[in-house]
Amino acid sequence: MNSIFEYFADIFHTVKSLLTGMKVTGRYFFSPGEIVTQQYPENRKTLKMYDRFKGEVIMPHNDHNEHRCTGCGICETACPNGTIEIIQARIDMPDGKKKRIIDKHIYHLGMCTFCGLCIKACPSDALAWGQEFEHAVFDRSKLTKTLNQPGSSIIKDIVE
Amino acid sequence: MDNAALKERILGLVPDAEFQENKQFLTFIIPPAKFHDFAIILKSEADLAFDYLFCLSAVDMVKYLEVVYHLESVSHKHQLVLKVRTEDRENGAVDTVCDIWRTAELHEREAYDLMGIRFNNHPDLRRFFLEEGWIGHPLRKDYVDEVNIVEF
């Protein structure tokens, strides 16, 4: 007798637990307000990344096409996987001395792991995080970027 | 058991164990020949009861290879580090402990694969990560692989 009772109790609990589950999915089915999907290409205009978002490493330039990079190479050594290459150039100073300045700050986006060590290491705050995130390209060579803009120069008050 | 008492106990069991100074753990270097019997005692004796092998590492010390066993007793909460050194780099072998601590089976396969330490009586000593027929053992200091290692 007891086992028959258990048999029906079993069925009852089964049905109850299944209905509890169906209640959850059923509730979401009838509440379209809960939909969380973002319509990505459509919302590009309104999509705003957080201000700390790590999109890529950039070198901010001011209005006079000046940056803060001295070309010291600390970021190059801080980088764990050789993402940054610094090519230096020598210029003749007015007082006759030769000075090394940055020629090209090459950044291989394809190798970057976004660890942020270069930005943390930079003594003159020349590097920053950019907000760009649509990095897909058809040609891998396009992922190699030169961060200092052509014809740019260093801001005068930066001392090494 | 505190570390001082444990040290006495272990030196009593294996008199030629070499004590090594370490801030964190009580560390001993055990002669390979006595290691397996000693390991059985470590696990079975009630006052030692080292039943949890929480790390097994292989280290290339250039002159020889070394296997480091990090042991803990779940009931007594004391910890112990054992080191076993092979004779030389090429033909050193260490007795397996995977009959004592089952977790050692995969760890020893990893050590064999990447460091080239052979384990006697291991039930299934094959390469674990790399494919069969791989030449060399990548974690060794003298391993050179022009094809796969990217130099910066």
Binding site: L18, G21, V24, Y28, F29, P32, I35, T37, Q39 | -
Partner: protein, 362 residues
């Protein structure tokens, strides 16, 4: 000709008469067959495409998603795009597969579902063939599909496929019993196996309500076992994508895969329409006792709409099952059938026979 949305009988008779007037008898029948064939094929394709779309939308809403929304308004043409893609895809040639059986299997599966649709009444006078053993025919034909599944699993030369096929075989053989017995319960009440008469018998109330508790139990059992018979979640052990990658159709690609896919949805449509016809009154409108006004409004909705509405409600419930429950294990699946559904069903038949005998039903 006197055409009405509420009664297709005169329309059919008009076509029949027209053909016989203009053609010899043999050709008239031949042309009729072709017309019916084309009509069903079109219906089949449309329903299949719509069901795939509906499933994707339903599961999307249950999962807080939007679902397909790129092709056409609300993604309505998504399945058509998918179908074109599947048609154009390469058919992968499987080495060491039994080529004849491998190629035959999808056709068996799809023909089995195609045949079952013939006996289903869509509206008054709108069915291909009105057997006096309609229910039996549908049960018989719909279980033919398992042959195709077994063949597909066997001939693919893949262990996953074979496991899936064997599971499917065990599953359908056992659940066929429950499907049959739960329909028998209603046949006792209806006193006929002819679909048109079963529907006619529900003019004053659906069998679900007429048959008291036994009919209700039979409906639940039918829902569960027909979900199992169509290999749908939570009983989709034959596919069991997290265990067997894709079960019996692992090795199929392109249009052959599409056949399996379509057949699954059509099987779902067929069992849903049987449920709608047998339990929920088929194309009969919903009537409540003596509410004449209400009944008149209900009568105003065409029978075809009633039929489709009920069928899709049952399909929606089946989708709801699928997207809520985790999958059963094979032994639990068989336990459910042999230890729970079958005894309940047998007792239920006795109960129903008793009720009918005493004349307690409405």
């Amino acid at each position: 000709m006197n055409f009405s949305l509420y009664d297709f009988t005169s329309f059919n008779q008009w076509i029949d008469k027209f053909l016989y007037d203009h053609l010899p008898a043999f050709w008239a029948i031949a042309v009729e067959m072709v017309i019916i064939g084309v009509a069903i094929l079109l219906f089949y394709a449309l329903v299949g495409l719509f069901l795939v779309y509906a499933e994707r939308k339903v599961c999307a809403f249950m999962q807080n998603r939007v679902g397909p929304n790129r092709v056409g308004p609300y993604g309505f043409f998504q399945t058509i795009a998918d179908f074109i893609k599947l048609m154009l895809k390469e058919l992968i040639y499987i080495k060491n597969a039994d080529q004849l059986l491998f190629n035959l299997a999808p056709f068996i599966v799809i023909i089995a579902s195609f045949m079952a649709i013939a006996a289903i009444p869509f509206a008054k006078g709108l069915h291909a063939i009105d057997f006096d053993i309609g229910v039996l025919y549908v049960i018989a034909v719909s279980s033919l599909g398992v042959v195709g599944i077994l063949l597909a699993g066997w001939s693919s030369n893949n262990k996953y496929s074979l496991i899936g096929a064997m599971r499917s075989g065990a599953q359908i053989v056992s659940y066929e019993l429950s499907v049959g017995l739960s329909l028998v319960t209603i046949i006792i009440l209806a006193g006929t196996m002819q679909f048109s008469e079963i529907v006619e018998g529900q003019r004053d109330g659906w069998f679900l309500f007429k048959g008291h508790i036994p009919a209700f139990i039979a409906f639940i059992v039918f829902l569960i076992s027909s979900t199992a018979e169509t290999n749908r979640g939570p009983f989709d052990l034959a596919e069991a994508e997290s265990e067997l990658t894709a079960g019996f159709h692992t090795e199929y690609s392109g249009i052959k895969f599409a056949f399996f896919f379509l057949a699954e949805y059509m099987n779902m449509f067929i069992v849903a329409s049987i449920a709608a016809t047998v339990f929920l009154g088929g194309w009969m409108p919903f009537h409540v006792g003596s509410w004449t006004g209400f009944n008149h409004i209900m009568d105003f909705i065409p029978p075809f709409v009633w039929y489709i509405g009920k069928t899709f409600f049952v399909i929606w419930v089946m989708m709801w099952f699928k997207w809520t429950f985790p999958r059963l294990r094979i032994d639990q699946l068989l336990t459910l059938e042999w230890k729970y559904l079958l005894p309940i069903n047998l007792v239920n038949i006795l109960l129903m026979a008793f009720i009918v005998l005493m004349g307690w039903h409405f």
